[in-house]
């Protein structure tokens, strides 16, 4: 596991910060929860509006796609066959692979799909807050996802209005995985595979401004998770004591005792919340239940490993 990892630094992997409750604005006085009459909060699966784009769940789908498109040379056989579509397939992060198999020019960012998740969610409760696994099951059951161009967001969901079968799929997954509830293996997967959707207790986030949150089970119950966000990196920062110690001594490098390992998480509450839309949680203490439901998508079919046999 590398000491630090930040997928925000890889161009085209993480989309811009969205706001899950900024519904279409209708004229009228502004209420604390938005404009009068706007259906704020109804779109409870965190996804941005009006451009339903990368959410914690959809980003997890978009991210690995994007990496594959850029992370290794495209051969016409493997890439195009999988996508079975002419060039100009927007992967939600704006990269296109041309017919010749050479990664194409960057295109304007388009979006994937969250309206479909709301309408086709198997529990029909997309608007009361969806579960991560339901979103992935919906993707699998629909054999893929349509783009928002084909499946526009209407601001309210009707579970029985699932139009998925009517639209061409632009992205699909082979499977989704729930990772081990272990921060070391989550870090390894994040660093080598890509972003992961996690579900945390968001209790401390209402008053959060910046810095690394290090909570106790008493101040942030790791069992009561209620908000899905996207895990995009990890690192270490100096603790307050570290900064003081550094001021009075001549340590040239941070002393392990004074550095705080943290996770970098992407939220969907707009860019003027937290650290430009992101926040950091302490890494190594299951702060706010970050290890409870780590989910990610898998694009490739499982590669058959050669069989091994356990000695008798």
């Amino acid at each position: 596991v590398p000491p630090t990892c930040d997928w925000r630094k890889e161009a085209g992997i993480i989309s811009s910060i969205r706001n899950q409750v900024s519904a279409p604005l209708r004229p009228g006085p502004i209420q604390p929860w938005g404009r009068e009459g706007e259906e704020r909060g109804k779109a409870c699966i965190p996804f941005p509006h009006p451009h339903p784009s990368t959410t914690s769940k959809t980003a997890t789908v978009a991210g690995p796609w994007q990496q594959r498109a850029t992370s290794r040379p495209c051969g016409p056989s493997n890439t195009i066959s999988l996508w079975k579509s002419p060039c100009k397939v927007w992967l939600g992060e704006g990269t296109c692979v041309t017919e010749t198999g050479v990664p194409g020019a960057r295109a304007p960012t388009r979006s994937l799909l969250a309206p479909e998740l709301l309408d086709c969610d198997r529990c029909g409760n997309g608007c009361k807050g969806g579960f991560v696994w339901d979103a992935f099951l919906t993707v699998l059951n629909n054999s893929g996802l349509a783009s928002d161009k084909d499946y526009p967001f209407k601001g309210n969901s009707k579970p029985h209005r699932c139009l998925a079968k009517k639209h061409k799929k632009v992205a699909w997954i082979q499977d989704f995985i729930m990772l081990q509830p272990c921060e070391q293996s989550i870090a390894r997967y994040l660093a080598t595979q890509g972003p992961i959707t996690v579900t945390i207790n968001m209790k401390l986030l209402q008053q959060y401004q910046k810095g690394v949150i290090k909570a106790t089970p008493t101040t942030c119950d790791p069992q009561l998770v209620d908000h899905s966000v996207l895990l995009v990196g990890f690192g270490k920062s100096k603790s307050a004591e570290g900064r003081q110690a550094e001021a009075v001594s001549s340590w040239s490098h941070p002393h392990p005792r004074y550095s705080i390992p943290y996770w970098i998480l992407k939220n969907s509450w707009g860019a003027n919340w937290g650290e430009e839309g992101y926040f950091r949680l302490h890494r190594g203490s299951n702060t706010c239940g970050i290890t409870k439901y780590p989910f990610t998508a898998r694009l490739d079919k499982p590669v058959k490993k050669h069989q091994v046999s356990c000695p008798p």
């Binding site: 969806g130 099951l137 054999s143 401390l204 008053q207 959060y208 949150i213 101040t219």
Partner: protein
């Protein structure tokens, strides 16, 4: 700004000024004076809560005024969170994939 290291909470007059700055920064207005008074009260409670979180935090986090400082914890949970998930991991038993499996 953040509350880390500040003296305990603003004075009443200061509170109103801080609340007015909050309204300007986050584009808030309230239709009735009673609603304004109620939101000011919620705002004050949230500032006190932020102070407490600051003291309890073991990391480098800073708590203070945010876009949600005029919402009660319940409103905030309803607007931004979803149903609380407790207990064990889901047993995903449903047969996955539709008849078209393998086509797309």
């Amino acid at each position: 700004g953040s509350l880390r290291g500040q003296d305990p909470g603003p004075q009443p007059l200061e509170l109103k000024e801080v609340f007015t700055l909050f309204q300007i920064r986050y584009n808030r207005s309230y239709s009735h004076p009673a609603e304004h008074a109620r939101r000011l009260d919620i705002f004050a409670r949230n500032l006190a809560k932020a102070q407490q979180l600051q003291e309890e935090d073991l990391g480098t986090a800073e708590f203070g005024v945010t876009p949600f400082s005029d919402l009660t914890e319940e409103e905030f949970g309803q607007l931004y969170g979803h149903q609380r998930v407790a207990g064990e991991a889901p047993s995903v038993s449903q047969k996955v994939g539709s008849e078209e499996w393998g086509q797309s």
